[in-house]
Amino acid sequence: MAKVSVKNVFKIYPGEKGGNVTAVKDVSLEIADREFVVLVGPSGCGKSTTLRMIAGLEEISQGDVYIGDKRVNDVAPKDRDIAMVFQNYALYPHMSVYDNLAFGLKLRKYPKAEIKKRVIDAASILGIEALLERKPKALSGGQRQRVAVGRAIVRQPKVFLFDEPLSNLDAKMRVQMRTEITKLHQRLQATMIYVTHDQVEAMTMGDRIVVMNNGVVQQNDTPLALYNAPVNLFVAGFLGSPPMNFITGTLKPEGDKIRFREIEGGTIDVAFPAADRPAAREFIGQNVILGIRPEDIEVATFSRKEGRAAATGFPAIVDIVEPMGAETSLYLQTGAHTLVCRSQGALDHREAGHRLQFEMTLAKAHLFDPVSTKRLS
């Protein structure tokens, strides 16, 4: 097992017409021994390229990659002591499942008995003992993915790399394999780097999440820290489903409070204690973006005190009601913005078209600078 360090790494491709395309810009990561780190971002954000540079499948244009304490920039993939699971499985079609699993060990000249033991062990961990004689084309998608994971396990490498391993599976299989990979991590206690574009996978699997966009690391933290304190609009909007609501408005001083008023046409008009938002002072009189997660908006209960309702409440027209059983998704019109609310109340379709009073948990709302897109602390 080993830690992985990525230091100021760039990936620059020569462009079509002379210019260069920078796919990865100055990425630095420290991945501790036995840590499960997820690289997440939209397609084209550089996450797979970063992983492939760690694997040695892409040349590093600039910067250094260390596995353990060894600089591996010029080390061939086979000598990096890593294993990788590919999005398209990449099983050897002319070999049986057994031979697919044993291939890496045979190349490394392990004794036959040891190979057999490791293959059987891996197969039993993944529940594919019965498939060992089959060829990959006789397997279902989920089984193929298990074999691909098995091929990584048998080698007992220092680092496991996963490149969107679940994106070709159907939704149900994806959830199942997700928990299996998490269990595998707990069992093997190995360093794992996992690339996905699916924020649910990122949130549920990672000890730590690295959010990337346009080749740049946006934020690198634990799942909950990212969720609760996103550093910018991109991270705030990327994590969470349904995504965070963004409301444009202006800030005005009001005694020991700062009042946020939604832009023309909107109904949201709420006041923050000024002491909680020191950075907001500089934006008085300017446009800011208020971000609030759907679960932090709720239908106001009239039994609550008038005063509190007035400070955090706003009226809105309910466009669509989506009862999910445990909770209800409401799509609201404030006049200037459409918001999503995840209500704990049991509402149904009859509420659609009505004007209701809502309130938001202001302590959980974020303010963002619309120009730099950074969160105002």
């Binding site: 294993a83 999005q87 398209n88 079609p93 890496g104 060829k135």
Partner: protein, 290 residues
């Protein structure tokens, strides 16, 4: 009942038209097969005819008084076996060299991006546009300079060079369909570039390799013009050149000629039958999703 009737009628019409179509396609296939087989049947007849009936106008497949005398004469009284050996040697040498060079060149052109790559690919195509006869004189001159006239090596080089462009394109095209991630996985599993080529890519390319090998073999086996130009001693003739010896200005030994033609085609047919089981496509299905 009345409602079912039109449906049944429609079904009947449908199956009628379907069987009519099948019948038609069988008819067409039959005609084409006849086209292909008729000349061969004449050769069989000619080869079996006794010497006094060569010019008979009978159409019987097995002629009256059929005899294997022509085969016997061919095998025991002419250098036929020697030529067979020469042809086999040359064709095998061309096949092995051709496959070895085309499989590696095709791989380089499929997997690596280097200066002159597309020029090379286009250049290979351009060589295919010249008629072979146009190249005879330059090739002849080159072989004289290299002292390779009247040698096996001379024809082997020319045949290999002629077959290579097609073989390289063929294999390059096939390699392009093998997902790169298989080689990446092999690289991570511990393969060198060469190992991932011969342990992963080459076995998966078996169908294309077989086609390439067949093509190279047939190019060498059937070729006449270059062989007639380069090979000058009867001892080192290939079969096509040797058979031509039975033809002369005054008289042609049609019986020997026909017997020879039949024997020449047998190895190719056997090779084809043997290799056809490798000609299954879709060998790489199941490797990756999609």
């Amino acid at each position: 009942m009345s409602r079912r009737a039109p449906i049944l009628a429609a079904e009947a019409r449908l199956s009628l038209s379907r069987s009519a179509r099948t019948a038609l396609s069988y008819l067409a296939l039959f005609v084409f097969t006849l086209f292909a087989l008729y000349p061969i049947s004449r050769i069989v007849t000619l080869a079996l005819r006794p010497g006094d009936q060569l010019l008979s106008s009978s159409l019987a497949l097995i002629p009256h008084g059929a005899t294997l005398a022509n085969f016997r004469t061919l095998i025991f009284e002419t250098p036929f076996l020697r030529w067979l050996g020469n042809s086999t040697l040359i064709a095998l040498a061309v096949t092995i060299t051709g496959v070895a060079l085309a499989s590696t060149a095709g791989y380089a052109l499929s997997r690596y991006r280097f200066l002159g790559r597309s020029t090379t690919l286009n250049g290979l195509l351009v060589t295919q546009m010249f008629p072979a006869t146009m190249l005879l004189l330059p090739l002849y001159l080159i072989l004289i300079k290299l002292s390779l006239i009247n040698s096996y090596l001379g024809v082997v080089i020319i045949y290999t060079a002629t077959a290579l462009p097609f073989c390289i394109w063929q294999l390059k095209g096939y390699y392009d369909t093998i997902p790169l991630s298989l080689e990446e996985a092999a690289g991570i599993d511990g393969c060198t570039r060469w190992q991932s080529f011969y342990l992963i890519v080459l076995p998966l390319s078996a169908p294309a390799i077989v086609i390439t090998a067949l093509f190279s073999f047939m190019t060498a086996w059937n070729e006449y013009v270059v062989a007639a130009l380069v090979l000058q001693d009867v001892e080192i003739f290939t079969l096509p050149v040797g058979l031509k010896m039975f033809q002369s200005n005054m008289s042609t030994q049609w019986g020997l000629y026909a017997a020879g033609a039949l024997l020449v085609s047998i190895p190719v047919v056997i090779l084809f039958l043997f290799l056809s089981r490798f000609l299954i496509s879709g060998l790489s299905s199941g490797a990756v999703k999609g």
